[in-house]
């Protein structure tokens, strides 16, 4: 009779899909520029505790992920009006919630890798800048930003 044993390496590969299922990303807070005045620039720093956007990522310790943000370059307003928004290098960071983790600033236009070295949660923060034109139509403007995480 042949006895079949599964090598440890194969066992670890079989176990991998279960780890992927534990990774999640959740939108926590909108990027809210608030009330803007015509012709006056308004900046939201990614560190702003109220206005910056925030996502929360949950993953097992040791997990490695890739983060990609898809951010708008304009907001959509009343009667088809558009409002340009600048979200550039340095307007985002990712940081683990465990002690000793420091903000890792990154370019929202590029992917960034992140390791859950000391805990199971991390946050992503996003800011930006808007300068309404002198003839900008008053009203509410909005669009969507997406955080995509990829687990390999």
């Amino acid at each position: 009779m042949h006895r079949a044993t599964i090598p440890a390496t194969l066992l670890s590969l079989i176990a991998a899909p279960a780890a992927v299922a534990q990774v999640s990303v959740t939108g926590i807070r909108d990027l809210a520029f608030g009330f803007l005045t015509l012709g006056i620039s308004s900046t939201v720093l990614p560190s702003d505790p109220v206005k910056s956007a925030q996502w929360r990522i949950t993953a097992p310790v040791g997990q490695r992920i890739q983060i990609r943000l898809t951010v708008p370059n304009q907001l959509l307003g009343p009667s088809g009006a558009t409002l340009p928004v600048s979200i550039n290098n340095g307007d985002a960071f990712v940081q683990g919630t465990w002690t000793g983790s420091v903000p890792n600033s990154f370019n929202p236009g590029s992917n960034v890798n992140f390791n859950f070295t000391g805990g199971t949660q991390a946050i992503i923060r996003l800011g930006g800048q808007i300068t309404p034109a002198a003839n900008q139509r008053p009203g509410t403007y909005t669009n969507t930003a997406v955080c995509t995480i990829t687990v390999f």
Binding site: V23, I28, T37, G128, N135, T140, F152
Partner: protein, 166 residues
């Protein structure tokens, strides 16, 4: 042996395929802004009488380079009212230096030389309109009448422009 090798190979192959298929998840947030129409009034330039001689009146016209100038911005083509609270005297201690005969004009560009609508700055409302671009320029002049024995000193006054939006 060969059957195990086939099974293990198949399992490895399946896991390699599974591992190479990166799992992606995403979450959205909104980016929002609320743009407000504003109205602003700025004192852009002082009404400058320059050197004044005791006993000699001096007048500055609204179209002069040293006339007082206010710049306002607001909703395009909006009607607004202007009223002024203007001093009768400049005061230094117990000394008065009369000022009056106020004159003014308003325009939708910053050149009072042409197309400026005349008005008399006073407490009575003067009707004006913002330009199609939401701009308004107000120019004022006046006359100071120093006495022949006008005392030297620091003369002060307060002038108030009120812009009322409907």
């Amino acid at each position: 042996m060969h059957r195990w090798a086939k099974v293990s190979t198949a399992v490895v192959a399946a896991c390699v395929v599974a591992a190479s298929n990166a799992s992606a998840q995403s979450a959205n947030i909104n980016v929002t802004a609320n743009v407000l129409q504003a109205i602003s009034v700025t004192g852009f330039r002082a009404l400058d009488f320059g050197n004044v001689f005791p006993g000699v009146n001096k007048t500055i016209a609204p179209s002069a380079a040293t006339s007082g100038r206010f710049d306002a911005t607001g909703q395009a083509a909006a009607n607004v009212n202007m009223t002024f609270t203007l001093p009768v005297n400049l005061v230094s201690g117990g000394n008065n230096l009369p000022i009056g005969t106020w004159t003014g004009c308003w325009d939708t560009d910053n050149n009072p030389a042409a197309g400026c609508t005349n008005f008399t700055p006073s407490a009575a409302a003067s009707a004006t309109t913002f330009s199609a671009g939401g701009a308004l320029f107000v120019f004022i002049g006046g006359t100071v009448s120093p006495a022949a024995n006008q005392a030297a000193g620091a003369y002060t006054a307060t002038a108030t422009l009120t812009l009322a939006y409907f």
